[in-house]
Amino acid sequence: MAKNSLNNLSNLPIGTAIKGKWHHNTYKIVKKLGSGANGVVYLTDWKGTQRALKLSDNPVTITSEVNVLKALAKAKGVAFGPALFDVDDWVLGSEKISFYAMEYIEGTDFLTFIKKRGLEWTDVLIMQLLSDLEVLHRGGWIFGDLKPENLIVSGPPIKIRCIDVGGTTKIGRAIKEFTEFFDRGYWGLGSRKAEITYDLFAVAMVMINAYYPKRFVKTGSEGLSQLIEKIHAKEGLKRRKKILLRALKGEYASALEMKRDLSLIKIQKEPISQKVKSSGTPPTRKKRRPLLRALETIIIVSVICFIYAFYIAGQLL
């Protein structure tokens, strides 16, 4: 029965007016944005403004997600998840359908974006993601179900956003929702407790997913050695092996720490691809730097020696 009504819910005709029982807002359906096990999301029009509307025949789902969105709004500073505008029920005959209205985040999903714009975007987007995660973690939350499908790249200016907060869990509790490929438990690399390291594991898997868009399944019981094999097979991953391994093994204490390691200087030099060649500047600068540094050191040391010699001479005389 529940399945049937969800089916109906995911096929609402364009133009359908959804009216809230409690707050009396009316939302007109523009198009369907997506549907999953927990509900359907539509793009709607509310007084000429675009709003994304999530409907579910299970009020528990809606209430839980609303709770998370409210908590995220309190941990202000970043627009990580979508902004929440309204929560209500839509009475449709004898049925009551719970929904909430949120900000409509327009963009491309993570993997499609990488495919279109190139793998060189991976680091930037992951660093943006890590900054947002840092704030989320400080607020006492773990994202949980971190995967490319839940990440939208909006802009310009390019900014990664997350659209599904259904898996967000308070630190220390058990993870509510997860997807096997991104779950450290599945790979035998840790528990399903909501910890910072749980999210950072998933971040590493998102990076791996960028190089393996079709993903892969676990073969055998040695999860880590399989992942290492996969990392070695792709040049771009191999160059980031240290970072990936630390994240996979749960060795990063914070998202910020992982972000710092991702910064350009720490990653082995990329082979100069044709695109990069034309810009030309970064390699030259890198070559010059050690020379400059050496020169700097020599000057400083000699100045100190000079002053010291003066001092000694002064003492002696």
């Binding site: 409690w22 009020p59 528990v60 209430t63 839980s64 609303v66 709770n67 409210k70 929560v87 209500d88 029920d89 009551k96 719970s98 220390g172 509790r173 058990a174 993870i175 509510k176 096997e180 438990g185 599945y186 528990s191 399903r192 407790k193 909501a194």
Partner: protein, 245 residues
């Protein structure tokens, strides 16, 4: 100290019972005793026939639980989701009956404005995390399950991983039907982690009939003899619930 206990029977089968008591009646009995029955229909490449499908749905409906039919490759995720959902459902039931007590009338959570619902949901979430859980796993080991047992093992280990991440205590036990000599056989007594399963499961030899009814009956008896009172039992429920807040 006593946080109350959620009691579940998790039945993994691939079809119709053909021996002993009516499993739907036994599921009804379980519910009366405060035990929820969840059923997972396990498919390989075969399809579960309509009669089998109906039985799976009926057992869960009567047992106050959730049923789902899946292919072996999706088994791990499903077993986990079904168990968690059923826990929420049980706690929701307890909270709803509390609401009725407080508000007098036939008020359910959905009748409250969305703002109030959020607060109640937080209580349910909190209970979900901290409540004690007992899951008696009943695995159908009739001949047709032969090639599915490896996937069942994986799924159960995965379930253990998910549940042990909670703050509340967990107890698992494992029964198979049909057993070596009897209709039902206890393979693993109550244990906080399911790791033992790896060894005991590989020794299994699938055989014979499918006595689902007798298996549920035995499971109820075992749970009543060995465990504290459940959260679902009407008269005791309130007491437990109050203690847990």
């Amino acid at each position: 100290m006593n946080k109350g206990t959620i009691k579940q029977i998790l039945l993994l089968t691939d079809g119709c019972s053909n021996y002993g008591e009516d499993p739907v009646a036994m599921a009804a009995l379980a519910r009366e005793e405060g035990i929820t029955v969840n059923v997972i229909g396990v498919m390989n490449n075969d399809v579960i026939d309509e009669r089998g499908l109906k039985e799976i749905e009926d057992i869960a409906a009567q047992g106050g639980g959730i049923s789902q039919v899946v292919y072996t490759k999706n088994l791990s995720q499903t077993v986990q989701v079904v168990t968690r959902k059923a826990m929420t459902q049980t706690l929701q039931g307890v909270v709803n009956s509390e609401l009725k007590q407080i508000l007098g009338t036939d008020v359910e959570m959905e009748d409250l404005p969305p703002e109030k619902r959020g607060e109640i949901m937080e209580v349910v979430d909190e209970l979900n995390e901290t409540v004690n859980l007992e899951v008696l796993i009943l695995v159908d080991t009739s001949a047709s399950m032969k090639h599915k047992l490896e996937a069942v093992k994986e799924a159960l280990l995965d379930l253990s991983l998910s549940l042990t991440a909670r703050t509340g205590n967990n107890r698992f036990s494992l029964f198979i039907f049909p057993g070596k000599k009897k209709e039902v056989e206890k393979l693993i007594d109550w244990t906080p982690k399911l790791e033992k399963l790896t060894t005991s499961f590989s020794k299994l030899v699938p055989r014979g009939m499918t006595p689902t009814g007798p298996a549920i009956k035995e499971a109820i008896q075992f749970m009543l003899q060995t465990s504290p009172k459940g959260l679902l039992m009407e008269h005791d429920g309130e007491e437990f619930f109050e203690q847990s807040i």
